[in-house]
Symmetry: D2
Subunit: 231 residues, 4 copies
């Protein structure tokens, strides 16, 4: 009756502007240029390094994301963005829930700001396997009971757990997306400032990163060369 | 072990700028004035009517809100704002959940864009009373089971329903707040465009409105006189 | 040595998303749909009328604009946008200045908030013809004198009048662009709220409007049918 | 008839929120706390270092600035802000213009991205002294000629140079202000990334910085300790 998954789906729907566009926009400032921008990897990298961020804003990407609500809530915190998210007020939701796979690290050791995640012991694994599967089961029954009785969707949905999957359209410019990646991936020792994202939003961010890397290779190199800081 | 509530708590923490400030800011544009703004209700109203919105942005308010997650998620959609929300990654949450009171209209009749809410029949009332109280009970047990086994907070929380209460700080300027009120309250026949908010976010908005009405009476009158549209 | 013009040049460089995209984004909210959006003019219009604005944000346009600085300054006031403007710090500017053509209405009669523009009498025409042509001439000499002496561009430029032409890249989503059009064109008696833009920014806005009308015909009709208010 | 100045005036009009507010907002996230925030310098610094930026957004400041248009144009590029600027459409402007004082470095040597400013030779000093004083003189006559003939303000102003003084109200939160300071002051060798601002906007930024330093001493120390990067 309900299904479980733990992947984060990220699909590039569309994008506008390539690296030549970045050059073109920058040269409006420096040359008033009317010419189509050329491929100038060195200029892209110089702009990035010198933090001339505005030319990167003319490149825009739209993604379709499927993720549980505990992740879409975090994505929505990024305000220089446009979103449409599935709404439990407008439709009866699908019974699709997140349950961690067996590789998900379950326990956190250390103290605030200095946590480490470890696989977890047998008891923890059992607790998670049972709890993350049974609670949605029960909540789903409660949801369907109300829906079946003709209760409004907006009231019925309140019993659903944040592990339920949602989907969204997410449009943002390259600068905003790089900020997202900077905060939502732990880039390790090479990062100028380390972030501590939840693994699931990190998976979303990494997949967005792959799309950026493919479409904007020199921007991507700049991102890495500058300690994974946004421009 | 868990508690239920259905009120939306809104507390004005602080605010900056009064109606004289609006006049003052407007007169920078029209007079380059250095003088402290005077009380000029007619000017506030004229600015509003003529949609000179920028002077209203120098008035800023901070609220503390307590509401269930299904409402805080909606609040977060308002991007010209600053938020800090309670995080289930950083703390073990309180077992406080939303369950509708007996006056909450439970059923929706009509079709998309033209719904009406009605009290609901006996079966619906029973379904809601049972479901909205038992599901959180069960989810809470699942949550505590994991927390008790030493599972990380970020995993344990995924079973919690969106009816769990959260709290947030919300800072926004008067223009942004009026936009919030315009969209999140159904102002009835007098509204230039009617909105169809969920009752609970409407309660939040009405309480924010009361604070605005008290601190900015002429802005509030302008809001009403202009069909409850933001400036 | 210097040239005069009075046209506002607006070129559509690129755009992303068509009206099907708006439908698609809206249906993520209402259907969680994965399907490519269909052509549904009625849905676009319904969304507009009901002020469901977010689906319109996934359509983004980039323009190249040439206009005098007294206009680019006004364009820059629109914050939900990305800009790159020609910089007098980075390049020696072109000696291209605005001088009104003979049809430009020169005199303003009436009082604040209720002005009317009239062609102007002979004395006014002579004053404008002389002043708008001679002052840039003189300023340009002063500019070139400093540049020629090896003074930095950032200091030399300070003598240049705001009638000097500048160019910019301007990227914004459809919702933001419609807000621009709402404020920067006087739509006459049909407007829900009338605006009083300077004729030159109105020319920029009208040209942006033509591009929107071509790419998004049903959005354009909605804009007109809703009193030229942004969604 | 006209006057010259070269100072940048920055006056703190109002502010909301102190360092306790930052603590308070942060503890909503970590404790759901209702308590008034305490003085916790270490927590402010930890938040800054770990790039937990949102609590800093609940502190907001309003400034009144007087600066020439070539500087106010640059200030307006900072979009997470609210502005009201003096408008030449709404009032007859004051004849107050920028002319550099004798200490202003006038010449730029080196190449793009690696400039150095030097005092300038005698010829440069003479050129600047003459040009920056005479050009506004002439432009002002042209302006007054048109105004005197009854030409509209919006047309008459086009001959005025960008050295004319303007005034503005500028409201922004602490995070946005720190971003302004990061980009608009050259913090020298200690900066994580060096900026190359024009001296006049740097003066504005330094004065804003003094107000921040006074009201938010631990934030200010954090700013310095983190290479003058915004949080």
């Amino acid at each position: 009756m309900i299904t479980f998954r733990n992947d984060m789906a990220v699909e590039l729907i569309d994008f506008m502007g390539d690296e030549e566009r970045i050059v073109e926009a920058a040269q409006v400032s420096t040359k008033g240029s009317r010419a189509k921008g050329e491929k100038k990897p060195w200029l892209v990298k110089w702009l990035y390094r010198e933090r001339h961020a505005s030319p990167f804003e003319h490149c825009v990407m739209t993604f379709r994301i499927e993720a549980p609500i505990f992740i879409t809530r975090e994505i929505l915190r990024h305000r220089i963005s446009s979103f449409n998210e599935e709404s439990g007020r407008y439709r009866v939701l699908r019974g699709e829930f997140y349950a961690p796979n067996k590789d998900r690290k379950l326990a956190q050791i250390g103290k605030v700001g200095n946590y480490e995640f470890v696989p977890g012991n047998r008891r923890q694994k059992l607790a998670v396997a049972a709890a993350t599967r049974m609670a949605p089961q029960f909540s789903w029954l409660a949801y369907k009971l109300m829906i079946g009785a003709g209760v409004s969707r907006e009231i019925s949905r309140v019993v659903l757990p944040v592990s339920i999957y949602s989907s969204m359209y997410y449009t943002a410019n390259l600068r905003s997306l790089l900020n997202f990646l900077s905060l939502r991936v732990d880039w390790g020792e090479d990062a100028h400032i380390r972030s501590h994202p939840q693994a699931e939003i990190e998976e979303v961010a990494v997949k967005i990163g792959l799309a950026i890397q493919e479409k904007y290779p020199n921007v991507w190199e700049s991102f890495a060369e500058n300690g994974y800081q946004a421009v």
